[in-house]
């Protein structure tokens, strides 16, 4: 059974059809890529999967449960983690504190515990710190734990978003253009991180324009064009698919 299943999903914004009857599945332990020209509906699909928006028609099943109408925090608590195409780190918080927010739903200390630093607050804070450091180590950002997140270069901001999402202990991680703004060396490091994350049992779905990165890392690729799925399969098959080549006319998939 797939861990995540997108079933006949359509999304309309007024008269604009951003997604039309899109169906595909994500299987446990996969790295899958979602590609397509700008405006193909990739981020829209991410928003639907993470509760930021609701499908006009169709369903999104996560572990058998329809998550299409959940609020973002509910989707997150079920195990859908995500990053954002346009950086959304908390600029004036430290790198570590950014990741600590990711432990929110995994800890319980409420208002009274916080006001009076009750034992539960202290227990929670210890566990939150440990897990947050662990998440930073997983992406190699632990050396910058105390720095303000706003000072990080673009690439590391995305890596921080990955650490933050990892801290929520997701089962599926949605990465929205993680390689944007990275140089070749950084992209290789990112690929290494993503593979490591997958090896730790987290299924990855990523949107990316860097075709070298996509073809190198993905087990399978889904191609969207004008809101419709035009191809799905292993990278080699996608690279030779005529309709995909037509959609990407002028862009070299190899």
């Amino acid at each position: 059974m797939p861990i995540l299943k997108v079933e006949a999903v359509t999304k309309r914004f007024g008269g604009l059809e951003a997604l039309r009857d899109v169906t595909f599945s994500l299987y446990d332990g996969q790295i899958k890529a979602l590609i397509g020209p700008n405006g193909a509906g990739k981020t829209t699909l991410f928003n639907l999967m993470s509760g930021m928006d609701r499908p006009t028609a169709g369903h999104i099943y996560f572990g058998g449960k329809d998550i299409g109408r959940l609020a973002p925090h509910q989707a997150s608590r079920l195990g859908v983690g995500r990053t954002f195409q346009h950086s959304k780190v908390f600029d004036d918080l430290s790198v570590l504190d950014n990741v600590k927010v990711g432990r929110h739903a995994k800890s319980t200390a409420g208002l009274l515990s916080a006001f009076f630093t009750l034992p539960r607050h202290r227990r929670d804070e210890r566990s939150i710190s440990e897990h947050a450091y662990h998440a930073l180590r997983r992406v190699g950002l632990e050396a910058k734990a105390e720095e303000p997140a706003g000072g990080l270069p673009m690439g590391e901001r995305h890596v921080l978003e990955i650490a933050r999402a990892l801290a929520t202990e997701p089962r599926v991680l949605l990465l929205d253009e993680p390689a944007a703004g990275l140089n070749n060396e950084e992209t290789d490091q990112l690929a290494e991180s993503v593979r490591r994350i997958r090896d730790q049992g987290i299924t990855v779905l990523l949107v990316e324009h860097d075709m070298g990165f996509v073809m190198d890392i993905s087990d399978e690729v889904v191609v969207l064009d004008y809101g419709r799925k035009i191809a799905e399969g292993p990278p080699l098959m996608i690279q030779n698919d005529e309709e995909v080549i037509r959609a990407y006319l002028g862009e070299d998939l190899n």
Partner: protein
């Protein structure tokens, strides 16, 4: 660790100074100014939590102070309720009202939230004036009993005890606010304020935490109102107007929204400066107006950021020659120029 220690030193030093003051002066006028400063600080701390941490605004906070003051006044003078109990009941009512109006209004942002809370403040004020059978309208309520513990009665004629009570509570609220800022709930609020979608994608329930912050700020304001009512022993609607709401926000902004200490500095300036300006009659509002403008332009972090702003200025001025020699140093100028935009 150092930051942790420094925070505690700051709090302890402030607490010792404030609690020690009545032992160095018995001037009842000074002590009464300080008493009002304590109650204002209680309200400011709640508002700082709401505006600075959670990023919400309230232009109707006078209403919650009024609900505390009137709640205490009505429950004690009409129903003979124990003042301490009345204070708790009034605070619970304020919390419930904040919860009810918070659920729809905290979904609003910016100007819309400001307008909604402003409207709420005006409605409460109109009720205080018009429901004369309960509030006695513009006449106000007199004969509000004093707070007491056994034989110890807290009145204006016992300013030292009054001071210790009010500042004890204000300092407790300050400690609570500082603790909250550095907790799971505090970080959730900061996350919501900085990038709401990101925080919710990390499992933070936006509505729950915003409404909760609104309720806390209402409770702090209500308690401040109750203490004021028992201290002055007379209240009237004129104290809970939009002007007061605006003054409350002004104090919090002048002090600085980025830190809990902003509420402290803002309150001290707002309460003590007018005492010096009294001799110039109408100068107070003028000075506050200018102060707000100057701070907005030159010190957007508020008074609390004065130290670090001066430090930055010094490195900027002094750093010029140094940078010429050492180009590898990423100067503070660059840090200011880089403002990555997180699109909504």
């Amino acid at each position: 660790m150092v930051a942790f220690l420094r925070r505690h030193v700051a709090f302890l030093a402030f607490a010792v100074v404030m609690m020690g003051l009545p032992f160095f002066t018995s001037n009842t006028y000074y002590l009464s100014v300080l008493a009002f400063t304590a109650t204002r600080l209680m309200t400011s701390l709640g508002l700082n939590l709401l505006m600075g941490q959670a990023g919400q605004i309230s232009l109707g906070h006078a209403a919650f102070v009024g609900m505390g003051a009137y709640g205490s006044a009505i429950l004690t003078t009409r129903f003979g309720m124990n003042p301490w109990l009345a204070m708790v009941v009034a605070a619970v009512v304020a919390a419930v009202v904040a919860g009810i109006i918070g659920i729809p209004t905290t979904k609003l942002k910016g100007h819309y939230l400001a307008m909604a809370t402003l409207g709420f403040g005006e409605i409460v004020l109109i009720l205080l004036i018009q429901v004369k059978s309960i509030t006695k309208g513009t006449d106000g309520i007199t004969g509000i009993p004093s707070l007491a513990i056994g034989n110890l009665v807290f009145t204006q004629y016992n300013p030292r005890a009054m001071h210790l009570l009010l500042w004890g509570v204000a300092l407790l609220m300050l400690r609570m606010s500082l603790n909250l800022a550095d907790s799971r709930v505090g970080r959730a609020l900061k996350g919501l304020h900085r990038a709401e979608v990101a925080a919710t994608s990390l499992g933070v329930d936006a509505t729950f935490h915003k409404v909760q912050a609104f309720m806390i700020s209402a409770v702090f304001a209500s308690i401040a109102g109750s203490f004021t009512a028992h201290y002055v022993q007379y209240i009237s609607p004129g104290s809970f107007t939009l002007t007061f709401s605006v003054l409350l926000v002004t104090g919090v902004v002048i002090g600085g929204l980025g830190s809990i200490w902003g509420a402290v500095w803002g309150t001290l300036v707002m309460m003590i400066l007018p005492e010096y300006l009294k001799q110039y009659e109408d100068a107070t509002n003028l000075v506050f107006g200018i102060l707000v403008i100057v701070i907005m332009i030159f010190l957007p972090g508020g008074l609390v950021s004065l130290g670090s702003a001066l430090g930055k200025l010094r490195t900027r001025v002094g750093g010029r020659d140094r940078r010429a020699a050492d180009t590898s140093d990423p100067g503070s100028l660059e840090g200011n120029a880089r403002r990555p935009g997180g699109a909504a």
